[in-house]
Symmetry: C2
Subunit: 255 residues, 2 copies
Amino acid sequence: MISVVILGAGNVATHLFKALQNSKEVIVKQWYSRNLNHISSFKNNVNITDDLKQLDEADVYILAVSDDAVAEVSSQLPFDNRLVVHTSGSVNIHDLDKKHKRGVFYPLQSFSKDAKIDFENVPICIETIEKPCYHTLKAIAISLGSPTKKVNSSQRGVLHLAAVFVNNFTNQLYRVAHEITESEGAEFDLLKPLILETALKVQDHSPYMAQTGPAKRNDKKTIKNHLKLLSNEHHKDIYKLLTESIQITHGRKKL
Amino acid sequence: MISVVILGAGNVATHLFKALQNSKEVIVKQWYSRNLNHISSFKNNVNITDDLKQLDEADVYILAVSDDAVAEVSSQLPFDNRLVVHTSGSVNIHDLDKKHKRGVFYPLQSFSKDAKIDFENVPICIETIEKPCYHTLKAIAISLGSPTKKVNSSQRGVLHLAAVFVNNFTNQLYRVAHEITESEGAEFDLLKPLILETALKVQDHSPYMAQTGPAKRNDKKTIKNHLKLLSNEHHKDIYKLLTESIQITHGRKKL
Protein backbone atom coordinates (compact mmCIF):
# COMPACT_ATOMS: atom_id res chain seq x y z
CA MET A 1 0.00 0.00 0.00
CA ILE A 2 1.35 3.41 -1.01
CA SER A 3 0.33 6.24 1.31
CA VAL A 4 -0.17 9.68 -0.17
CA VAL A 5 -0.78 13.21 1.09
CA ILE A 6 -2.36 15.60 -1.42
CA LEU A 7 -1.60 19.32 -1.17
CA GLY A 8 -3.78 21.82 -3.01
CA ALA A 9 -7.49 22.22 -3.65
CA GLY A 10 -7.69 22.88 -7.39
CA ASN A 11 -9.06 20.72 -10.19
CA VAL A 12 -6.06 18.39 -10.40
CA ALA A 13 -6.01 17.84 -6.63
CA THR A 14 -9.74 17.17 -6.51
CA HIS A 15 -9.84 14.80 -9.49
CA LEU A 16 -6.78 12.95 -8.17
CA PHE A 17 -8.31 12.62 -4.73
CA LYS A 18 -11.59 11.28 -6.11
CA ALA A 19 -9.87 8.81 -8.44
CA LEU A 20 -7.57 7.54 -5.68
CA GLN A 21 -10.59 6.87 -3.45
CA ASN A 22 -11.23 3.83 -5.66
CA SER A 23 -7.65 2.57 -5.57
CA LYS A 24 -6.71 -0.63 -3.77
CA GLU A 25 -3.00 0.08 -3.96
CA VAL A 26 -2.94 3.72 -2.87
CA ILE A 27 -4.42 5.36 0.21
CA VAL A 28 -4.82 9.12 0.58
CA LYS A 29 -3.91 9.64 4.24
CA GLN A 30 -4.44 13.37 4.32
CA TRP A 31 -5.48 16.38 2.22
CA TYR A 32 -3.98 19.80 2.82
CA SER A 33 -5.29 23.15 1.66
CA ARG A 34 -4.29 26.54 3.03
CA ASN A 35 -8.00 27.30 2.96
CA LEU A 36 -9.85 24.47 4.71
CA ASN A 37 -13.20 25.60 3.26
CA HIS A 38 -12.07 24.43 -0.18
CA ILE A 39 -11.90 20.80 0.95
CA SER A 40 -14.15 20.71 4.00
CA SER A 41 -16.87 18.88 2.05
CA PHE A 42 -14.50 15.87 2.00
CA LYS A 43 -13.78 15.85 5.74
CA ASN A 44 -15.77 12.64 6.25
CA ASN A 45 -13.67 10.85 3.63
CA VAL A 46 -10.18 11.96 4.61
CA ASN A 47 -8.17 13.72 7.30
CA ILE A 48 -8.00 17.36 6.18
CA THR A 49 -5.67 20.10 7.42
CA ASP A 50 -4.59 23.66 6.68
CA ASP A 51 -1.40 23.40 8.71
CA LEU A 52 1.76 22.17 7.01
CA LYS A 53 3.20 21.37 10.46
CA GLN A 54 0.43 18.82 11.01
CA LEU A 55 1.20 16.76 7.92
CA ASP A 56 1.16 12.99 8.41
CA GLU A 57 4.03 10.77 7.44
CA ALA A 58 3.44 9.30 3.97
CA ASP A 59 5.26 7.68 1.06
CA VAL A 60 4.46 10.49 -1.37
CA TYR A 61 3.45 14.15 -1.05
CA ILE A 62 1.68 15.36 -4.17
CA LEU A 63 1.88 19.14 -4.60
CA ALA A 64 -1.09 19.90 -6.87
CA VAL A 65 -0.68 23.62 -6.29
CA SER A 66 -0.26 26.54 -8.69
CA ASP A 67 3.03 26.69 -10.59
CA ASP A 68 4.22 29.69 -8.62
CA ALA A 69 3.60 27.97 -5.28
CA VAL A 70 5.57 24.77 -5.96
CA ALA A 71 8.98 26.02 -4.81
CA GLU A 72 7.68 27.80 -1.72
CA VAL A 73 5.38 25.04 -0.46
CA SER A 74 8.05 22.41 -1.02
CA SER A 75 10.55 24.39 1.05
CA GLN A 76 8.01 24.95 3.82
CA LEU A 77 7.40 21.24 4.33
CA PRO A 78 8.67 20.46 7.86
CA PHE A 79 10.58 17.29 6.92
CA ASP A 80 13.19 16.11 4.46
CA ASN A 81 14.29 13.06 2.47
CA ARG A 82 10.73 12.06 1.61
CA LEU A 83 9.29 11.82 -1.93
CA VAL A 84 7.69 15.15 -2.85
CA VAL A 85 6.29 15.57 -6.36
CA HIS A 86 4.56 18.34 -8.25
CA THR A 87 1.93 17.96 -10.99
CA SER A 88 2.84 20.89 -13.23
CA GLY A 89 3.64 20.80 -16.93
CA SER A 90 5.96 23.74 -16.86
CA VAL A 91 7.79 23.70 -13.50
CA ASN A 92 11.28 22.18 -13.46
CA ILE A 93 11.86 19.25 -11.11
CA HIS A 94 14.69 21.25 -9.55
CA ASP A 95 12.30 23.93 -8.40
CA LEU A 96 11.30 21.50 -5.66
CA ASP A 97 13.40 22.02 -2.52
CA LYS A 98 16.43 19.76 -2.75
CA LYS A 99 16.04 18.58 0.83
CA HIS A 100 13.40 16.18 -0.58
CA LYS A 101 13.46 13.19 -2.87
CA ARG A 102 11.96 14.96 -5.85
CA GLY A 103 9.64 13.93 -8.63
CA VAL A 104 7.02 15.06 -11.13
CA PHE A 105 3.64 13.44 -11.68
CA TYR A 106 2.16 15.47 -14.57
CA PRO A 107 -1.26 14.41 -15.82
CA LEU A 108 -1.38 15.53 -19.47
CA GLN A 109 -5.07 16.32 -19.68
CA SER A 110 -7.47 19.21 -19.20
CA PHE A 111 -9.26 19.12 -15.87
CA SER A 112 -12.38 21.15 -15.18
CA LYS A 113 -14.40 21.36 -12.03
CA ASP A 114 -17.62 19.89 -13.43
CA ALA A 115 -16.39 17.52 -16.16
CA LYS A 116 -15.75 13.91 -15.20
CA ILE A 117 -12.32 12.51 -15.95
CA ASP A 118 -11.53 8.92 -16.76
CA PHE A 119 -7.89 8.45 -15.82
CA GLU A 120 -7.52 5.84 -18.55
CA ASN A 121 -7.43 8.88 -20.83
CA VAL A 122 -4.87 10.78 -18.78
CA PRO A 123 -1.25 10.01 -19.70
CA ILE A 124 0.94 10.58 -16.65
CA CYS A 125 4.36 12.05 -17.44
CA ILE A 126 6.75 10.90 -14.73
CA GLU A 127 10.13 12.32 -13.81
CA THR A 128 12.25 11.43 -10.82
CA ILE A 129 15.87 11.75 -9.80
CA GLU A 130 16.10 8.35 -8.11
CA LYS A 131 14.88 5.13 -9.66
CA PRO A 132 12.87 3.74 -6.69
CA CYS A 133 10.85 6.97 -6.68
CA TYR A 134 10.04 6.37 -10.34
CA HIS A 135 8.59 2.97 -9.53
CA THR A 136 6.48 4.40 -6.72
CA LEU A 137 4.99 7.07 -9.02
CA LYS A 138 4.45 4.56 -11.80
CA ALA A 139 2.57 2.29 -9.35
CA ILE A 140 0.26 5.19 -8.44
CA ALA A 141 -0.41 5.92 -12.13
CA ILE A 142 -1.09 2.26 -12.87
CA SER A 143 -3.47 2.14 -9.94
CA LEU A 144 -5.36 5.05 -11.55
CA GLY A 145 -5.51 3.10 -14.81
CA SER A 146 -3.38 5.73 -16.56
CA PRO A 147 -0.78 5.15 -19.25
CA THR A 148 2.63 6.48 -18.15
CA LYS A 149 5.67 7.92 -19.84
CA LYS A 150 9.13 8.84 -18.55
CA VAL A 151 9.48 12.50 -19.53
CA ASN A 152 12.26 14.87 -18.47
CA SER A 153 11.66 18.53 -17.54
CA SER A 154 12.59 19.87 -20.94
CA GLN A 155 10.35 17.42 -22.84
CA ARG A 156 7.57 18.14 -20.36
CA GLY A 157 7.83 21.87 -21.02
CA VAL A 158 7.47 21.18 -24.73
CA LEU A 159 4.45 18.91 -24.16
CA HIS A 160 2.85 21.60 -22.02
CA LEU A 161 3.42 24.16 -24.76
CA ALA A 162 2.01 21.78 -27.40
CA ALA A 163 -0.97 21.15 -25.10
CA VAL A 164 -1.75 24.86 -25.21
CA PHE A 165 -1.98 24.59 -29.01
CA VAL A 166 -4.20 21.49 -29.12
CA ASN A 167 -6.36 22.44 -26.14
CA ASN A 168 -6.55 26.20 -25.41
CA PHE A 169 -5.99 27.43 -28.96
CA THR A 170 -8.19 24.76 -30.52
CA ASN A 171 -10.93 25.62 -28.07
CA GLN A 172 -10.54 29.28 -29.03
CA LEU A 173 -11.07 28.32 -32.69
CA TYR A 174 -14.31 26.65 -31.56
CA ARG A 175 -15.15 29.91 -29.82
CA VAL A 176 -14.49 31.96 -32.95
CA ALA A 177 -16.70 29.54 -34.93
CA HIS A 178 -19.33 30.01 -32.23
CA GLU A 179 -19.17 33.80 -32.61
CA ILE A 180 -19.26 33.64 -36.42
CA THR A 181 -22.24 31.28 -36.60
CA GLU A 182 -24.35 32.81 -33.84
CA SER A 183 -23.85 36.35 -35.13
CA GLU A 184 -25.11 35.29 -38.57
CA GLY A 185 -28.11 33.23 -37.46
CA ALA A 186 -26.47 29.88 -38.14
CA GLU A 187 -26.32 27.07 -35.59
CA PHE A 188 -23.02 26.28 -33.89
CA ASP A 189 -24.41 22.89 -32.91
CA LEU A 190 -24.30 21.76 -36.54
CA LEU A 191 -20.49 21.92 -36.29
CA LYS A 192 -20.20 19.56 -33.32
CA PRO A 193 -19.96 16.31 -35.31
CA LEU A 194 -17.23 17.90 -37.46
CA ILE A 195 -15.34 19.03 -34.34
CA LEU A 196 -15.41 15.48 -33.00
CA GLU A 197 -14.47 13.91 -36.34
CA THR A 198 -11.48 16.27 -36.63
CA ALA A 199 -10.18 15.12 -33.24
CA LEU A 200 -10.92 11.47 -34.00
CA LYS A 201 -9.12 11.58 -37.33
CA VAL A 202 -5.73 12.47 -35.81
CA GLN A 203 -6.00 9.54 -33.41
CA ASP A 204 -5.11 7.31 -36.41
CA HIS A 205 -3.76 9.71 -39.04
CA SER A 206 -0.99 12.29 -38.89
CA PRO A 207 -2.31 15.88 -38.90
CA TYR A 208 -0.35 16.34 -42.10
CA MET A 209 -2.28 13.55 -43.85
CA ALA A 210 -5.60 14.60 -42.31
CA GLN A 211 -5.52 18.14 -43.72
CA THR A 212 -8.15 19.23 -46.26
CA GLY A 213 -9.81 22.49 -47.27
CA PRO A 214 -9.30 25.68 -49.25
CA ALA A 215 -5.91 26.60 -47.75
CA LYS A 216 -4.37 23.24 -48.61
CA ARG A 217 -5.94 23.26 -52.09
CA ASN A 218 -4.87 26.90 -52.50
CA ASP A 219 -8.47 27.67 -53.51
CA LYS A 220 -8.02 31.43 -53.77
CA LYS A 221 -11.65 32.16 -54.63
CA THR A 222 -13.00 30.51 -51.47
CA ILE A 223 -10.29 32.08 -49.31
CA LYS A 224 -11.17 35.51 -50.69
CA ASN A 225 -14.89 34.93 -50.08
CA HIS A 226 -14.22 33.79 -46.51
CA LEU A 227 -12.15 36.88 -45.75
CA LYS A 228 -14.97 39.01 -47.12
CA LEU A 229 -17.47 37.24 -44.86
CA LEU A 230 -15.41 37.91 -41.72
CA SER A 231 -16.32 41.27 -40.26
CA ASN A 232 -14.16 40.98 -37.15
CA GLU A 233 -10.58 42.10 -37.92
CA HIS A 234 -9.13 39.77 -35.31
CA HIS A 235 -10.93 36.78 -36.83
CA LYS A 236 -9.60 37.87 -40.22
CA ASP A 237 -6.04 37.88 -38.83
CA ILE A 238 -6.50 34.36 -37.45
CA TYR A 239 -7.89 33.19 -40.80
CA LYS A 240 -4.93 34.68 -42.70
CA LEU A 241 -2.26 33.39 -40.34
CA LEU A 242 -3.55 29.81 -40.17
CA THR A 243 -4.20 29.70 -43.90
CA GLU A 244 -0.60 30.77 -44.42
CA SER A 245 0.58 28.18 -41.89
CA ILE A 246 -1.26 25.39 -43.76
CA GLN A 247 0.20 26.60 -47.04
CA ILE A 248 3.72 26.58 -45.63
CA THR A 249 3.21 23.06 -44.27
CA HIS A 250 1.85 21.80 -47.56
CA GLY A 251 4.40 23.51 -49.77
CA ARG A 252 1.95 25.98 -51.28
CA LYS A 253 4.07 28.87 -50.21
CA LYS A 254 7.74 29.49 -49.65
CA LEU A 255 8.87 30.78 -46.28
CA MET B 1 -38.57 4.88 -53.90
CA ILE B 2 -36.51 7.96 -54.74
CA SER B 3 -34.23 7.53 -57.74
CA VAL B 4 -30.95 9.39 -57.78
CA VAL B 5 -28.13 10.07 -60.24
CA ILE B 6 -24.79 11.02 -58.70
CA LEU B 7 -22.42 13.26 -60.67
CA GLY B 8 -18.78 13.53 -59.64
CA ALA B 9 -16.13 11.13 -58.40
CA GLY B 10 -14.65 12.85 -55.36
CA ASN B 11 -14.91 11.93 -51.69
CA VAL B 12 -18.43 13.27 -51.17
CA ALA B 13 -19.74 11.45 -54.28
CA THR B 14 -18.07 8.19 -53.28
CA HIS B 15 -19.19 8.25 -49.63
CA LEU B 16 -22.72 9.20 -50.69
CA PHE B 17 -22.85 6.39 -53.23
CA LYS B 18 -21.63 3.81 -50.74
CA ALA B 19 -24.03 4.97 -48.03
CA LEU B 20 -26.99 4.99 -50.42
CA GLN B 21 -26.22 1.39 -51.42
CA ASN B 22 -27.69 0.39 -48.05
CA SER B 23 -30.81 2.53 -48.40
CA LYS B 24 -34.23 0.99 -48.83
CA GLU B 25 -35.86 4.28 -49.78
CA VAL B 26 -33.32 5.58 -52.28
CA ILE B 27 -31.85 3.91 -55.36
CA VAL B 28 -28.79 5.22 -57.19
CA LYS B 29 -29.73 4.63 -60.82
CA GLN B 30 -26.56 5.95 -62.35
CA TRP B 31 -23.17 7.43 -61.56
CA TYR B 32 -21.53 9.98 -63.85
CA SER B 33 -17.90 11.03 -63.94
CA ARG B 34 -16.19 12.85 -66.80
CA ASN B 35 -13.36 10.36 -66.24
CA LEU B 36 -14.84 6.84 -66.18
CA ASN B 37 -11.66 5.39 -64.64
CA HIS B 38 -12.48 7.16 -61.38
CA ILE B 39 -15.64 5.12 -60.87
CA SER B 40 -15.05 2.04 -63.01
CA SER B 41 -14.43 -0.12 -59.95
CA PHE B 42 -18.14 0.32 -59.15
CA LYS B 43 -19.42 -0.71 -62.58
CA ASN B 44 -20.84 -3.99 -61.24
CA ASN B 45 -22.90 -2.09 -58.66
CA VAL B 46 -24.31 0.73 -60.75
CA ASN B 47 -24.74 1.97 -64.29
CA ILE B 48 -21.78 4.30 -64.88
CA THR B 49 -21.31 6.88 -67.64
CA ASP B 50 -19.02 9.70 -68.72
CA ASP B 51 -21.57 11.20 -71.10
CA LEU B 52 -24.03 13.79 -69.81
CA LYS B 53 -26.27 13.07 -72.81
CA GLN B 54 -26.71 9.49 -71.60
CA LEU B 55 -28.10 10.40 -68.20
CA ASP B 56 -31.09 8.37 -67.03
CA GLU B 57 -34.28 9.96 -65.87
CA ALA B 58 -34.30 10.27 -62.09
CA ASP B 59 -35.99 12.14 -59.23
CA VAL B 60 -32.80 13.86 -58.10
CA TYR B 61 -29.45 14.68 -59.70
CA ILE B 62 -26.76 15.19 -57.07
CA LEU B 63 -23.85 17.30 -58.32
CA ALA B 64 -21.00 16.33 -56.02
CA VAL B 65 -18.51 18.16 -58.19
CA SER B 66 -15.96 20.87 -57.40
CA ASP B 67 -17.36 24.29 -56.50
CA ASP B 68 -16.19 25.81 -59.77
CA ALA B 69 -17.91 23.11 -61.86
CA VAL B 70 -21.40 23.41 -60.32
CA ALA B 71 -22.71 26.16 -62.62
CA GLU B 72 -21.23 24.69 -65.78
CA VAL B 73 -22.30 21.08 -65.24
CA SER B 74 -25.81 22.13 -64.21
CA SER B 75 -26.20 24.14 -67.44
CA GLN B 76 -24.89 21.26 -69.54
CA LEU B 77 -27.52 18.84 -68.28
CA PRO B 78 -29.67 17.96 -71.34
CA PHE B 79 -33.03 18.33 -69.60
CA ASP B 80 -34.93 20.83 -67.50
CA ASN B 81 -37.49 21.06 -64.73
CA ARG B 82 -35.96 18.20 -62.73
CA LEU B 83 -34.52 18.46 -59.23
CA VAL B 84 -30.78 19.20 -59.46
CA VAL B 85 -28.84 19.79 -56.26
CA HIS B 86 -25.24 20.54 -55.39
CA THR B 87 -23.37 19.49 -52.25
CA SER B 88 -21.15 22.52 -51.70
CA GLY B 89 -20.86 24.64 -48.58
CA SER B 90 -19.99 27.81 -50.41
CA VAL B 91 -21.87 27.80 -53.74
CA ASN B 92 -25.11 29.76 -53.91
CA ILE B 93 -28.25 27.83 -54.85
CA HIS B 94 -28.75 30.32 -57.68
CA ASP B 95 -25.48 29.24 -59.31
CA LEU B 96 -27.39 26.17 -60.49
CA ASP B 97 -28.94 26.72 -63.92
CA LYS B 98 -32.42 28.10 -63.45
CA LYS B 99 -33.91 25.71 -65.99
CA HIS B 100 -33.86 23.14 -63.14
CA LYS B 101 -35.71 22.74 -59.90
CA ARG B 102 -32.80 23.68 -57.70
CA GLY B 103 -31.59 22.55 -54.31
CA VAL B 104 -28.61 22.12 -52.00
CA PHE B 105 -27.73 18.97 -50.09
CA TYR B 106 -24.66 20.00 -48.08
CA PRO B 107 -23.15 17.36 -45.80
CA LEU B 108 -21.39 19.34 -43.04
CA GLN B 109 -18.56 16.93 -42.38
CA SER B 110 -14.99 16.25 -43.46
CA PHE B 111 -14.75 13.40 -45.96
CA SER B 112 -11.48 11.67 -46.72
CA LYS B 113 -10.81 8.88 -49.12
CA ASP B 114 -9.71 6.28 -46.58
CA ALA B 115 -11.68 7.25 -43.45
CA LYS B 116 -15.08 5.65 -42.93
CA ILE B 117 -18.01 7.95 -42.46
CA ASP B 118 -21.10 7.21 -40.40
CA PHE B 119 -23.83 9.41 -41.83
CA GLU B 120 -25.45 9.60 -38.40
CA ASN B 121 -22.65 12.08 -37.70
CA VAL B 122 -23.17 14.09 -40.87
CA PRO B 123 -25.69 16.93 -40.52
CA ILE B 124 -27.23 17.60 -43.93
CA CYS B 125 -27.95 21.28 -44.60
CA ILE B 126 -30.86 21.45 -47.04
CA GLU B 127 -31.96 24.35 -49.19
CA THR B 128 -34.61 24.31 -51.92
CA ILE B 129 -36.74 26.83 -53.74
CA GLU B 130 -39.88 24.69 -53.82
CA LYS B 131 -41.29 22.86 -50.82
CA PRO B 132 -41.84 19.42 -52.42
CA CYS B 133 -38.14 19.39 -53.35
CA TYR B 134 -37.31 20.02 -49.70
CA HIS B 135 -39.26 16.93 -48.66
CA THR B 136 -37.51 14.79 -51.27
CA LEU B 137 -34.06 15.88 -50.05
CA LYS B 138 -35.06 15.44 -46.43
CA ALA B 139 -36.23 11.89 -47.21
CA ILE B 140 -32.82 11.09 -48.72
CA ALA B 141 -31.04 12.47 -45.64
CA ILE B 142 -33.31 10.52 -43.30
CA SER B 143 -32.65 7.38 -45.29
CA LEU B 144 -28.92 7.97 -44.70
CA GLY B 145 -29.60 8.30 -40.97
CA SER B 146 -28.43 11.91 -41.01
CA PRO B 147 -29.82 14.80 -38.99
CA THR B 148 -31.08 17.60 -41.25
CA LYS B 149 -31.39 21.35 -41.04
CA LYS B 150 -33.00 23.91 -43.33
CA VAL B 151 -30.18 26.33 -44.10
CA ASN B 152 -30.22 29.15 -46.63
CA SER B 153 -27.25 30.01 -48.86
CA SER B 154 -26.02 32.82 -46.64
CA GLN B 155 -26.15 30.72 -43.44
CA ARG B 156 -24.51 27.85 -45.31
CA GLY B 157 -21.63 30.11 -46.36
CA VAL B 158 -21.12 31.07 -42.72
CA LEU B 159 -21.21 27.42 -41.61
CA HIS B 160 -18.66 26.55 -44.27
CA LEU B 161 -16.40 29.35 -43.06
CA ALA B 162 -16.83 28.25 -39.43
CA ALA B 163 -16.06 24.68 -40.53
CA VAL B 164 -12.69 25.88 -41.82
CA PHE B 165 -11.94 27.18 -38.31
CA VAL B 166 -12.98 24.03 -36.43
CA ASN B 167 -11.61 21.55 -38.97
CA ASN B 168 -8.75 22.87 -41.17
CA PHE B 169 -7.37 25.39 -38.67
CA THR B 170 -7.77 23.08 -35.69
CA ASN B 171 -6.02 20.33 -37.61
CA GLN B 172 -3.21 22.77 -38.38
CA LEU B 173 -2.83 23.44 -34.64
CA TYR B 174 -2.46 19.68 -34.21
CA ARG B 175 0.18 19.83 -36.93
CA VAL B 176 2.08 22.63 -35.17
CA ALA B 177 1.96 20.61 -31.93
CA HIS B 178 3.28 17.65 -33.92
CA GLU B 179 6.21 19.73 -35.21
CA ILE B 180 6.97 21.18 -31.78
CA THR B 181 6.96 17.85 -29.97
CA GLU B 182 8.79 15.77 -32.56
CA SER B 183 11.52 18.38 -33.03
CA GLU B 184 12.20 18.35 -29.27
CA GLY B 185 12.14 14.59 -28.73
CA ALA B 186 8.73 14.55 -27.08
CA GLU B 187 5.89 12.26 -28.17
CA PHE B 188 2.95 13.74 -30.06
CA ASP B 189 0.93 10.62 -29.20
CA LEU B 190 0.79 11.71 -25.55
CA LEU B 191 -1.41 14.63 -26.68
CA LYS B 192 -4.05 12.49 -28.37
CA PRO B 193 -6.27 11.96 -25.32
CA LEU B 194 -6.19 15.73 -24.70
CA ILE B 195 -7.13 16.42 -28.33
CA LEU B 196 -10.12 14.13 -28.00
CA GLU B 197 -11.16 15.51 -24.60
CA THR B 198 -11.04 19.06 -25.99
CA ALA B 199 -13.46 18.11 -28.79
CA LEU B 200 -15.67 16.12 -26.42
CA LYS B 201 -15.92 18.97 -23.93
CA VAL B 202 -17.58 21.37 -26.39
CA GLN B 203 -20.21 18.77 -27.21
CA ASP B 204 -21.80 19.66 -23.83
CA HIS B 205 -20.17 22.95 -22.84
CA SER B 206 -19.85 26.25 -24.65
CA PRO B 207 -16.30 26.94 -25.86
CA TYR B 208 -16.39 30.02 -23.65
CA MET B 209 -17.01 27.94 -20.53
CA ALA B 210 -14.57 25.21 -21.59
CA GLN B 211 -11.56 27.55 -21.87
CA THR B 212 -8.59 27.09 -19.50
CA GLY B 213 -4.86 27.76 -19.62
CA PRO B 214 -2.25 30.50 -19.35
CA ALA B 215 -3.90 32.96 -21.79
CA LYS B 216 -7.24 32.90 -19.96
CA ARG B 217 -5.50 33.15 -16.57
CA ASN B 218 -3.22 35.88 -17.98
CA ASP B 219 -0.29 33.89 -16.62
CA LYS B 220 2.43 36.14 -18.04
CA LYS B 221 5.33 34.03 -16.80
CA THR B 222 4.16 30.87 -18.60
CA ILE B 223 3.28 32.81 -21.76
CA LYS B 224 6.77 34.32 -21.79
CA ASN B 225 8.39 30.91 -21.27
CA HIS B 226 6.32 29.40 -24.07
CA LEU B 227 7.32 32.15 -26.49
CA LYS B 228 10.94 31.55 -25.54
CA LEU B 229 10.55 27.81 -26.25
CA LEU B 230 9.16 28.43 -29.75
CA SER B 231 11.99 28.70 -32.25
CA ASN B 232 9.79 28.92 -35.36
CA GLU B 233 8.70 32.53 -35.93
CA HIS B 234 5.45 31.46 -37.57
CA HIS B 235 4.54 29.28 -34.58
CA LYS B 236 5.34 32.26 -32.34
CA ASP B 237 2.94 34.43 -34.36
CA ILE B 238 0.17 31.84 -34.00
CA TYR B 239 0.83 31.61 -30.25
CA LYS B 240 0.66 35.39 -29.85
CA LEU B 241 -2.45 35.86 -31.97
CA LEU B 242 -4.49 33.10 -30.35
CA THR B 243 -3.36 34.12 -26.87
CA GLU B 244 -4.55 37.63 -27.66
CA SER B 245 -7.82 36.25 -29.04
CA ILE B 246 -8.47 34.29 -25.83
CA GLN B 247 -7.67 37.37 -23.77
CA ILE B 248 -10.10 39.49 -25.78
CA THR B 249 -12.82 36.86 -25.39
CA HIS B 250 -12.26 36.59 -21.65
CA GLY B 251 -11.93 40.30 -21.00
CA ARG B 252 -8.25 40.20 -20.17
CA LYS B 253 -7.49 42.76 -22.82
CA LYS B 254 -9.29 45.66 -24.37
CA LEU B 255 -9.73 45.70 -28.13
